[in-house]
Symmetry: C2
Subunit: 353 residues, 2 copies
Amino acid sequence: MRVAVIGTGLIGTSVALALREQGVSVWLADTDPEAGRLAVNLGAGEPLPETATADVAVIAVPPSAVAATLAAAQARGSKGLASCYTDVASVKQLPVTQARALGCDMTSYVPSHPLAGREKHGPAAARADLFLGRTWALCPAPESSEHAIAAITTLVRMCGAVPLRTDAAAHDRWVALVSHAPHLVAAAMAARLEAAPAEALDLAGQGLRDVTRIAAGDTSLWTQILAANAEPVAEVLAAVAADLAEAARMLTDGDPKSVATLLDVGQAGVARIPGKHGGAPREFAVVQVVIRDQPGELTRLFDAAGRAGVNIEDVRIEHSPGLPVGVAELSVRPAEAGPLLAALEAGGWPVRR
Amino acid sequence: MRVAVIGTGLIGTSVALALREQGVSVWLADTDPEAGRLAVNLGAGEPLPETATADVAVIAVPPSAVAATLAAAQARGSKGLASCYTDVASVKQLPVTQARALGCDMTSYVPSHPLAGREKHGPAAARADLFLGRTWALCPAPESSEHAIAAITTLVRMCGAVPLRTDAAAHDRWVALVSHAPHLVAAAMAARLEAAPAEALDLAGQGLRDVTRIAAGDTSLWTQILAANAEPVAEVLAAVAADLAEAARMLTDGDPKSVATLLDVGQAGVARIPGKHGGAPREFAVVQVVIRDQPGELTRLFDAAGRAGVNIEDVRIEHSPGLPVGVAELSVRPAEAGPLLAALEAGGWPVRR
């Protein structure tokens, strides 16, 4: 497979690095020659030759530049730059509409969007493992050929990502909720810090860093994204703003009950976010067991659970550095928590539900 | 030093673990016997003896329970539970006011607050390194004795934290901005996910996880905290709500300019948050250099910069796993970026400003 990556920013260079790890030949091009050179120096690929045809071209440019870049790529030489094309922009309806208006060949084009990123941008921030285990949305147009869809799906899998097929309209509606609105919410919280006294910032902890981290993203890119997905984003923002205004009123009125409700609903919302490598959390009871940090201890524990006829659905180990013991958190079906506790207690394990 | 920890939740047990690593004797007590037992099993200390006096007692209970717990501890036996007391609640004016109202001895009490936490709670989530490099606010009352302040400062340092002296009113105002309001902002965003279709959540990425992570915190504890710091929190929330409502309006009206402004101000706000281990970022120019992943490469690079007379203020290495090269990001005074670029380029280093 030969892949051409047009645009060697964070996403383009990361795609290139991931593909190179799989032994794929990658050609690189960027309108900023310095960015292109840095990507080449990083080992992400070779400069795009004057005349050559790739199997797949990945167009990794800002949303509003996708269609023109696609049109130029398809018009290159006699056969076009590649047999199949995809883009990686965070909105999907805009590039599709614009590509159609520009008369692009839609059969060879499969719009896509990797749900991965960093608050840093540019090729220097690229990582070969950026897409590992992450969802990568594929939004074929009605005209997209099965051949092109198969080729882009293969590319996504080679990057270590999990392809998820949807359509452009649904994609844009959902990313408004899970990506675009959260970005502005983070920015609005971070904006409060801009004029805050330094003493206040001395008290900042990890929570504030996490809530505001994505607000460090590239303003011009994000303004484009938000403008291209304005309506669904505005809907989510208006709802968040209303909840926060209401919470402020209730706190001022000395009535923290609705604040507790918002916290509860928020907790339920967080619980619905799938884990880093997919798989939504389910409703399990958790049994905590103190274990020693030594070989065979987990095997002994699982053996004890197995003999009690209890199936361990999930296990997480909490271990504080330097301690000779840790805590194993065993997730089991609620009905099995009692028998497990009894069996482990009988076996001398220190347990807690 | 002998320390009694009253309340073996996340913070109390983490304090105990951190002190044990320093060879301190720790006694543990909790109104929930299971939580107390788990902390003992984790090696965080021994059960509190019936009669004994500690040097310091750490009261690690929810904000509204601090004063009563302090009063009971000071009334214990003939000499009280300890010579000095601190608490670790996230608000400081409420426990101080209540302790004074209960007639507590304020000379031996130094209210404090470690700016550290996790979205998990309970002793199983405790970590000896929870406070490492984190700020720990000390808010002595006017009555607090120098002896008590010195003892609590020593304890804070033994936990690896950085003591920061302030007063209760300022503390509460600043944590409203950097901790309490962000918690509700995260909850309000997360609340939007509660009724969202599963397809939307399949598109969730790391950004959403970060923005909403703290919303998984304990609702009843956080309702207490927010109610106890209602006015300053409400002020921040109202401002965030107004910005978000305005952004929603502008997006709907097709005018993304004010959205760009909010993103810019947010970016400036994030940049003001000190790094994990303190030290606010300053205005430096960054020069990116591709380096090989081999011994001596950084020494060679620093040597080249030194011979050019340029002082490297900070360096970060970006390295994608599996790649034989990485990127060194050198922070230098803006005026020195040009000479550094020239010197490195002359020396054959692949650079980018």
